[in-house]
Amino acid sequence: MGTDHGHHPAELSEAEARAKALESLLRERGLVAGDLIDRVIERYTTDIGPLNGARAVARAWVDDDYRARLLADATAALQELEIGGMQGEHMVAVPNTDTVHNVVVCTLCSCYPWPVLGLPPRWYKDAPYRSRVVREPRAVLNEFGTTLSDDVEVRVWDSSAELRYLVLPQRPAGTDDWTEEQLRELVTRDSMIGVTKAVGPHQATFGSDGAQT
């Protein structure tokens, strides 16, 4: 391999080589062994994702006592649903109302509640969102299709410390007879970051294996 110039597979990218070099050195030093890396990747691609947050939101929509506990101590309320861990040690839930719409950012790095929403999407980590949402949140929300009237306060939360914020979206109208399990389907990742609202009942697509994006 590597001698048949012009026909062999592409060279490793610089980033691939760096990741592989680090992995090999950590393996030599015993910090990594066996399929540990694959197991970690598996955890964050299957178990840990926005479906966790959606479970908590749907519970809060159907259970006023749970909602009160979530707003009083989100870390403990999420723990009731066995949601917690790295980057979710100190959780705060902020509720959307008819007069307040919350949206979360980390302008200094990309802090994000991993155990609740999974790992963040690229747009959340990239410069445009981090720069703009603390200056022109209404314009940013518009781009996500979220148009709010001027009498709704847009409340931006910059998670600059170790607190991680979960937006509690409003329960969509027309879902009074929906079960908690059905309601989970309306709770998207983006609605828990706060760039969108929860999905309306007519837009829901059932049978998906996770919260929509």
Partner: protein, 241 residues
């Protein structure tokens, strides 16, 4: 530090580009980078603030032209070498080997030692608490008007530039947490102090360019703040929530 990472309010940064059905990891190396980071954190090679500070010390042009997981590679290379897990020369040799040999890393079929598996599992499932009990009482309380200091430290800080000098209102008192500015120096100096959510109205931060009906709440450590009592410029927050 006044770095390009501190981007709140910047102009001309391009469009926000959501990706439909985005995978958690776009390429395998991103997942490997993430896994290596979890392994390094489990072994205690950094605190979050040391890690963030290492990223902030990337050359500005490089920071802006590389992706999130490339930032992670830079941070880990810097810290692992600084803390002696391997030398610069050993890393260069490992890079050369990685470029030369495209086969998967050796040893993947071996079992993971149970104690390593348990340690990594605990870090993922429990994380690490950053809150601390401190003997002193909080200096500020919910409802207090406070001004973010105008300091511009060259080291790590979580006092974002876009709020420096601005006056806001404390809306939550979170309790005491380890202090990033000292912890980032890598000597384990926690110096815990109270953290507050401080809310600024849009016009206080952006003047006539603020959008109507916008507020900005940011978590700030007590030493980032001074009392704004008696200040005539303290803005009134219309709290409709």
């Amino acid at each position: 530090m006044n770095g390009v990472h501190d981007m709140g309010g910047s102009h001309q940064v391009g469009a926000i580009a959501p990706e439909p059905d985005e995978p958690v990891f776009h390429e395998r190396w991103e997942g490997v980078t993430f896994g290596v980071q979890v392994a390094g954190a489990t072994a205690g090679y950094w605190t979050s603030d040391e890690y963030r500070f290492a990223i902030e010390q990337m050359p500005p042009a490089e920071y802006l032209s590389t992706s999130y997981f490339e930032h992670w590679l830079s941070a880990m290379e810097k810290i692992f070498i600084a803390k002696g897990l391997f030398t610069q020369e050993e890393y260069r040799r490992a890079l050369d080997a990685a470029r030369a040999d495209r086969s998967p890393a050796a040893g993947e079929a071996e079992p993971v030692p149970p104690e390593l598996l348990e340690a990594v599992g605990n870090v993922i499932a429990q994380g690490g608490l950053c809150s601390r009990d401190v003997p002193q009482a909080p200096r500020f309380h919910v409802g207090d008007a406070v001004q973010a200091r105008r300091d511009a430290p060259s080291g790590h800080t979580r006092l974002a530039r876009y709020v420096r000098g601005a006056t806001g209102e404390i809306v939550m008192s979170h309790g005491a947490f380890v202090f990033p500015d000292t912890l980032a120096e890598g000597r384990g100096v926690e110096r815990p102090q109270y953290v507050y959510a401080v809310r600024f109205v849009g016009t206080e931060l952006w003047g006539r360019d603020a959008e109507p009906g916008t507020t900005f709440t940011i978590d700030l450590w007590e030493s980032y703040l001074q009392s704004a009592r008696g200040s005539t410029s303290s803005p009134t927050i219309t709290n409709r929530g």
